[in-house]
């Protein structure tokens, strides 16, 4: 146990120590990104650089972060007219989903070297988690979770709004708590098998806390939303989110985005469904289909429409 902990601390220390190296590179490099073509990396230098040195592919060493021993085949480097932006063209397409490391040497007169990471922007990744759980993998229409509550509370728009908002709130709070518990208690001590009990306990606790606080602080709001709180516990989305977080080893921000997206997606689904169901009240629906069966059929049609988002990659 102890050696393990020490090793972990050492590892993080090594990472921190490596940071200045990366930071140093910042002085020389103003910007870097993957190019529009699949086999390009664009590098912008902070100041004008020696053209001959920049355009010499031998000065570069580019590899995928996970495979530092395998150098990628750099075909050519072209410096733009402004003398600052260089386009690195490779013989084969790059895998832009993985971070790449570019090490440059012998550039300026002092022979300055720089090593930096090229990867898709992290903010884009966070946003794609949010949009992913909101639309692309909408928990109701494409993951088929939380259906009992979904069908139960989507009859009226007001109910749907109340339920959706309460739900999103509880979801975010409980997901964050679960994340802390998972990262700092369950995982380090090998108690993964207690996941279910701990997560459901945290959810109940959150619901109870929100209930108490709301009752004291804003009784009006409590009267409006209090009834939904009990329903939240019986909803599988709320327990699914922590389980997914644990499975995917998301970090704090990513977990927050996922919870927000899942809650927002649930709210969206509920709201759309409720306005559709209000409209359907006037319709002459066959007796055997009245109520829940027709709601299922409509939800199925929603799911067909949501297939349109499948395969969407935003960033």
């Amino acid at each position: 146990m102890t050696t393990h902990t020490i090793r972990r601390i050492l590892l993080s220390l090594a990472l921190v120590l490596a940071l200045p190296v990366l930071a140093q590179a910042q002085d020389l490099i103003a910007g870097k990104s993957f190019g529009k073509a699949p086999n390009e990396i664009l590098v912008t230098f902070a100041s004008a650089v020696d053209r001959a040195a920049v355009e010499n592919p031998a000065n570069y060493r580019v590899y995928e972060e996970q495979d530092p021993d395998i150098k990628l085949n750099l075909e050519s480097v072209v410096l733009a007219e402004d003398g600052k932006t260089a386009t690195l063209t490779f013989r084969e397409p790059l895998n832009a989903r993985l971070p790449h490391v570019v090490a440059v040497s012998g550039l300026a007169e002092s022979g300055a070297a720089a090593s930096f990471k090229v990867m898709k922007p992290y903010l884009g990744y966070l946003l794609s988690i949010l949009v992913g759980s909101l639309l692309i993998n909408n928990f109701v229409f494409t993951k088929y979770l939380g259906l009992c509550v979904f069908f139960g509370t989507s009859k009226r728009k007001d109910t749907a709004k109340g339920m959706g908002l309460t739900f999103t709130m509880v979801m975010v709070v409980s997901a964050i708590m679960s994340w802390f518990f998972y990262q700092f208690i369950l995982k380090p001590y090998g108690l993964n098998f207690l996941q279910i009990v701990v997560f459901i306990g945290l959810v109940s606790l959150t619901v109870q806390a929100v209930d108490t606080v709301l009752r004291k602080v804003n009784p009006a709001l409590f009267n409006a939303f209090g009834v939904y709180l009990v329903l939240v516990i019986a909803n599988c989305v709320i327990i699914a989110v922590p389980l997914i977080l644990a499975d995917n080893e998301y970090n704090f921000l990513e977990s927050f985005m996922l919870a927000l997206g899942a809650g927002g997606g649930f709210l969206l689904a509920l709201y759309l469904m409720s306005s559709v169901r209000e409209r359907m009240e006037l319709a002459n629906i066959p007796t055997t289909f009245k109520g829940v069966p027709i709601a299922f059929i409509v939800a199925g049609q929603f799911a067909l429409a949501f297939l349109g988002f499948s395969g969407l990659t935003l960033f």
């Binding site: 279910i196 699914a240 939800a299």
Partner: protein
């Protein structure tokens, strides 16, 4: 209060009158999500049956010592414990089936049906009745899942329990999870129809 129903009536009640999927409209998520084959339905059914029976018996056994104010947390704890147990057992001994169920095994913990049965039945009845009620509910769920699985596997893949029956795949649509919405809706309507016809026949 003790139930006046016989054990058999309790079981039949769970399967027909109060079928968790088609009549009580509870625990719909797996009914839509993973009822793609008979085997999936059976496996999840077994897990639910196990959790329902164990939780019902546990609660019926301890009903006198459970403090009424912490009733619900106790139920949740009980269910979560048994779900954890079945989760670990399936992961260890049936890894392939477990992989197919994915997250749904763990989600049994949030099945409204189980909590509801504990609150409405097991907390008031003796162990024997609770056991048979649990069996009825579990079987009702399992049979509902298997009926859905039957339709979807046959129409979607042309197989039953993995054996090729039709020799061709009629409509891929039915194995897509979203077809679950349509299948559940149509089957529910079908059972409503049967009920109407049955009542009419009884009156006549």
């Amino acid at each position: 209060m003790a139930t006046d129903k016989t054990n058999l009536q309790l079981v039949v009640n769970g399967i027909l009158n109060e079928n968790p999927i088609f009549r009580l409209v509870l625990s719909m998520c797996p009914a839509v999500g993973i009822s793609t084959t008979v085997m999936n339905g059976f496996m999840l059914g077994i897990a639910v049956l196990f959790v329902q029976v164990c939780s019902s018996c546990t609660i019926a056994l301890f009903k006198n010592v459970i403090h009424p104010r912490i009733r619900i947390p106790t139920y949740t704890l009980t269910i979560a414990t048994w779900v954890t147990v079945i989760d670990m057992v399936l992961a260890a001994y049936l890894p392939e089936a477990y992989a197919k169920m994915g997250i749904f095994i763990k989600l049994i913990v949030a099945f409204a049906i189980i909590t509801m049965r504990l609150e409405m039945f097991a907390s008031k009845e003796n162990i024997n009745a609770s056991f048979w009620d649990g069996i009825g509910m579990g079987l009702g769920f399992m049979l509902g899942m298997m009926a859905l699985g039957f339709v979807r596997e046959l129409l979607g893949m042309g197989t039953l329990l993995g054996y090729d029956v039709l020799g061709f795949k009629p409509m891929l649509f039915f194995v897509l999870p979203l077809a679950g919405f349509f299948c559940v809706g149509l089957m529910m309507a079908f059972f409503n129809y049967i009920e109407i016809v049955y009542k009419r026949a009884k009156r006549a």
